[in-house]
């Protein structure tokens, strides 16, 4: 099937070339980082995880969201999602790939990566994260590819695929749960030390991921003859609506606990993010933008006419995606590190090389996604024709 990715229009190749250029730029700066060390990033002794780990956290959510297509189709026999489950699975593949790359570019000694396997340490959450991420990547490649191949040949998927599909459903939940456990099990980091972190991560994932899927469906429809269908898109829109409201609700629960209990360790971080602390407030405008975007999206999504109109739905999806990206990809990680354990403030701003490396990793993900989707749409067009 891969041959479908080798034949494409001029636009297709231009897009791939543009991504390749971004990858090359990112790789160049990564080599510099490898040579001089992580000192070229904005990270510091106090904010030891920055943009890379934040993108990883956000993308784990995008990856997990494939389950929002797989679960209704396979557990509830919701046939409308039948022809787009593979779109979700391949989005998961490219997202998990980006997650892994973000972890690798964040390591001080990436050539020692295999030490995690040579000295397996089950009490470290990073060990489990490695297992769930690799497992999820494997599951989605195998399932997506085989189901698509069977569809192309007009036969039912192989029998052994079914159990893998059922496993992939709780597995999707596990990847974001374990990712939340990286943070919420750490003593002395009041911002993350909350049992609702994993549920909140899942809610934001099931909002941002399906919102992105809707946007991808629009793009695919524009450039190919494959249409996910209004019914599927509207069903996804309802999922986004519920999830983004749940996400806001969980966040407000968080705010209540901190604000009402007034325990400084819990209020300090929220205060830093939304109002600034002792004159430091680099993220304040970002965080309020995030809130505004999420609230605007909720308003658009709960009004049936606005949700059913694809233009306003498109805007709502962009708002959800960007709003949650700011929350998780920007505020969530540095917010936990400021103030530091000694209640001192060191702010974090990513540097240019750091941003270019980040863009390079995203370009790798989009390249893989484009190639996989080219195969999917090629097969679908072949079947339709």
């Amino acid at each position: 099937m891969l041959e479908k990715a080798l034949r494409g229009s001029k636009k297709y190749w231009t897009w791939l070339l543009a991504l390749a250029v971004l990858i090359a730029i990112g790789f160049f700066f990564y080599l510099r980082q490898l040579y001089t060390g992580l000192g070229i990033t904005g990270m510091s002794r106090d904010v030891t995880w920055g943009f890379y780990i934040a993108q990883f956290t956000f993308l784990v959510g995008v990856a997990a969201s494939a389950v929002m297509l797989v679960l209704p189709y396979y557990l509830h026999d919701y046939k409308t999602f039948g022809k787009i489950t593979v779109i979700g699975e391949f989005l998961a593949v490219s997202s998990v790939l980006m997650c892994m790359l973000f972890i690798i570019v964040d390591l001080g000694q990436p050539m020692r990566l295999l030490n995690v396997i040579f000295y397996p340490t089950p009490n470290s959450m990073l060990f489990w994260d490695m297992i769930v991420l690799n497992g999820y990547l494997f599951l989605n490649i195998v399932i997506g590819w085989n189901v698509l191949d069977a569809e192309r040949n007009g036969v039912a998927p192989e029998k052994w695929i079914k159990p893998l599909i059922y496993i992939s459903i709780p597995w999707a939940v596990s990847i974001h749960t374990v990712t939340a456990f990286l943070y919420c099990g750490l003593p002395g980091r009041g911002f993350w030390l909350t049992a609702i972190l994993a549920p909140r991560f899942l809610a934001s994932a099931f909002a941002a991921g399906p919102a992105f899927l809707i946007l991808l469906a629009f793009i695919i429809r524009k450039f190919t003859s494959f249409d996910a269908g209004t019914k599927a898109i509207q069903a996804l829109a309802k999922i986004v609506t519920y999830a983004v409201i749940a996400n806001l609700f969980f966040f407000l629960c968080e705010v209540f606990v901190a604000a009402y209990s007034q325990i400084p360790e819990h209020t300090a971080h929220l205060e830093y993010l939304f109002f600034g602390l002792h004159g430091h407030g680099a993220l304040v405008p970002w965080m309020w933008t995030s809130i505004a975007l999420v609230v605007a999206a909720i308003i658009l999504l709960v009004i049936p006419q606005a949700r059913q109109n694809e233009t306003t739905l498109g805007f709502a999806c962009v708002f959800v995606f960007v709003g949650i990206w700011i929350d998780k990809g920007l505020g969530m990680i540095s917010g936990g590190f400021v103030p530091n354990p000694l209640h001192e403030i060191t702010e974090y701003v990513p540097t240019v090389p750091e941003i270019l490396i980040t863009i390079g990793v995203y370009a790798v993900g989009f390249l893989v996604l484009t190639v996989l989707y080219k195969v999917v749409t090629g097969v679908k067009e072949e079947l339709a024709g």
């Binding site: 030891t48 995880w49 030490n115 000694l342």
Partner: protein
């Protein structure tokens, strides 16, 4: 004749090599046997000399009443110079990425959440040295995915294997005391006077205070304790007759963030 002489030389050469390699092997195995403590021979550790100081759980009591700026500087210098901690200077140096094993701070930073209202001026502004607490229940060890940081069973010191660390910095997120530093760049050019008896680090690994495990192995107290003019007391917390236990029995001492359940082994008399 020529041929046999050459053969002789060749054989002799190999023999010398063989003997050399053999004795090296013997030497190595003897060394491992000597170094292997209760936690087995796999751990990197300093072989214990005859004069080695041993304890079940090393601990420290800091008498903050005896601290002042110059004394703190002296202790930090003693520690950092012995352990090859880089001192980056110049304009390109990023102050937010420095490495520190022991450093002075104020009461409110050393003990956030334990603030005392209307604290006496002298206490509020007196320098208080902070360092790795060598927690009895260390969260950094729990977080490390490669066991590069570990608690030495023999005496409770929380140590680092610089050669195993992958630089993920999970331990730094886990430490509630900000005691760990990361080598954001190659530290070697910034070491003014290298101590050949202690390893230098490379970029991309985490490091922190090791309670001078390398000095304890040859019967010396930690460098900061030696330089402290009696402000720092070091000893076995599990031995009721030790200096630290006697001091703790006489004086009221506090620990940093006791509510987190990490059980720090560094105590502070305020």
């Amino acid at each position: 004749m020529e041929n046999s002489r050459r053969r002789f030389l060749k054989n002799a050469g190999f023999s010398v090599l063989g003997v050399g390699a053999g004795s090296m092997l013997i030497g190595l195995s003897a060394h491992t046997a000597k170094a292997a403590g209760p936690d087995g021979g796999q751990r990197p550790q300093f072989s214990m000399g005859d004069k080695a100081m041993e304890a079940e759980r090393w601990g420290m009591v800091v008498d903050t009443r005896k601290l002042n700026d110059s004394l703190c500087r002296k202790m930090q210098e003693a520690c950092h110079s012995i352990h090859n901690v880089p001192e980056p200077v110049g304009e390109s140096a990023r102050r937010d990425q420095i490495i520190k094993w022991i450093w002075p701070t104020e009461f409110k930073h050393a003990f956030p959440g334990q603030e005392v209202e209307f604290l006496a001026e002298d206490v509020a502004h007196r320098p208080i040295v902070v360092l790795c607490n060598h927690c009895d229940n260390p969260p950094c060890v729990q977080a490390c995915p490669t066991k590069a940081t570990f608690k030495r069973e023999r005496d409770g010191i929380v140590m680092m294997d610089f050669h195993r660390c992958i630089g993920c910095r999970f331990c730094m997120a886990a430490c509630p005391f900000g005691s760990r530093s990361f080598n954001f760049r190659d530290p070697r050019p910034d070491i003014e006077d290298e101590n050949p008896d202690f390893p230098t680090r490379m970029r991309g690994v985490v490091e922190k205070c090791n309670f001078c495990a390398e000095r304890l192995a040859v019967g010396k107290k930690p460098a900061c304790v030696e330089a402290s003019d009696g402000a720092l007391t070091f000893g076995d917390l599990n031995d009721p007759d030790s200096d630290v236990r006697k001091l703790l029995a006489e004086q009221y001492a506090i620990r940093r963030k006791p509510n987190l359940g990490t059980f720090p082994s560094v105590f502070y008399i305020v």
